[in-house]
Point group: C2
């Protein structure tokens, strides 16, 4: 069954090259789109209070706030700074009325220039576990759900060392075993479509009440860049309707958030991008 | 503990831009390297009998033959042709005295121009299972071990839809549950280093006598190309000594095969590449 048009949400990264956050909010209203997922830098540019007011006045559902995470660091001071920053992200997410704070957990610890300084992926994963564990108290008090987003394994070193939904589910089991409302997952098709265990792990997350977000775009063949060559729904090989079916069978009732990092789509007219998102959401997701 | 120098093997893809197979065989002898893993196109260029004689005369261990696989196809005729080709690859591997035939299993079925014609990854995985199952009879009769190589998830669509060692182990359990000598795995660090289940799945493969090959190179940060930006051991973030330790603890006693697809190393003098492989094998793997 085709998704209802009112399920569409737009992650602001999709239009970051063309429009400011204020322009995106206005554009979504103009296109009859009901959801938004803003990024912290764009919110900071407009101002938190102004962003919250503008999004509220437009009647938009905030399907997620991007992003917390990036827990691993060389030393305890770096990890403490990351935790402080995550607490601020929780507070901002509350001010924006977001459904969840998305956690891109971070990869190997880096030096100030961004180069990895360790090969110990297990230790980085331990820092992620400890960081989320420490953040949970603040997030629970603020009633802001945390959503761990497993990232594609090609980002394990530099962006997120949580790389499968099984691993995210294991983290939730360890840190918040019976509290999916406090700690759950964001399922992004781009990152997990290849996983042979995906259907089973979506069902597992659903049983635990952990499915906080569903992100869509497509995997292009060939993919020419690891970061900025994601595809518009329908242009690639991900069977989005099938995976959405698994999400719905597992109880997911939230919106469908389009997040496309793409030099190709960033070069398009923003209104044309939104027209295409609406059409492809309807026909190819 | 550092690996013994006589454990080093070179996959001929590492020098494919600089040298023919004959030149590679001579070069390995000159550098005191005892193992080789040739590719089918290079063997075809020199001729099968000549390749086998030259490798034998140089006293090289053939740590694997690259490659069989690519089972999925649009129709039954295409799958039958793939199976025939795989049977020939088995026979060539026998002629070369290879320790195993490496299987890169293939991704989604493609049209004649190489574009995917399906989004059904589950069906492709079924074709892979059926293809390996059908090939097994011929391989068993020829006493040539098949080694399923899980490829990094970024290749799921176009190269291999077996993307984790757990999935490869599951396939072996299904098709040859108590015959690791007939059907096992090739563990390539580049493809599996990120996997949270890696240590456990290497141990599982070891218990079943399935560890037929250990391939090494490194994951660079940043990685600028999905295909041809693999790193020399020590230049990236993979903890090769640790994973080798898991292999050895699981009973692996074979050679360590260096396979580097890299425009950067293909542009280097081949003797310098081999010097570097020897040094990095010793110091960083």
């Amino acid at each position: 069954m085709r998704p209802a048009p009112d399920r569409l949400s737009i992650n602001t990264a999709t239009l970051r090259a063309q429009w400011s956050l204020a322009e995106i909010v206005d554009g979504l209203a103009r296109h009859g789109i009901h959801g938004i997922a803003p990024w912290r830098d764009q919110v900071a540019n407009l101002g938190l209070a102004a962003s919250a007011a503008r999004i509220r006045d437009a009647g938009l559902t905030v399907t997620g706030y991007c992003r917390g995470g990036m827990f691993p660091a060389i030393d305890a001071a770096g990890r403490a700074a990351a935790l402080d920053d995550n607490r601020r992200a929780v507070d901002e997410a509350v001010a924006l009325g977001a459904r969840c704070l998305v956690l891109v957990v971070g990869g190997l610890p880096k030096d100030p220039r961004g180069a990895p300084v360790s090969r110990d992926l297990g230790a980085a994963r331990g820092m992620v576990r400890d960081g989320i564990g420490a953040l949970l108290e603040h997030a629970r008090a603020a009633r802001m759900p945390l959503a761990i987003e497993p990232l594609h394994p090609m980002y394990a070193a530099d962006r997120a060392c949580v790389n499968t939904l099984a691993q995210a589910n294991d983290l939730c089991d360890e840190l918040a075993p019976s509290d999916g409302a406090a700690l759950g997952v964001a399922v992004d098709a781009y990152h997990v479509w290849w996983d042979p265990a995906l259907e089973r792990e979506i069902a597992r997350a659903g049983r635990a009440g952990r499915l906080h977000a569903w992100h869509i775009c497509d995997w292009l063949v060939p993919t020419t860049d690891l970061l900025n060559d994601r595809g518009m729904m329908g242009d690639g090989v991900i069977d989005l309707p099938r995976i959405r079916g698994w999400m719905e069978a597992a109880g997911y009732e939230g919106l469908h958030e389009v997040e496309i990092f793409s030099t190709r789509w960033w070069a398009e007219d923003a209104d044309r991008v939104l027209d295409t998102c609406r059409a492809r959401h309807r026909d190819a997701s």
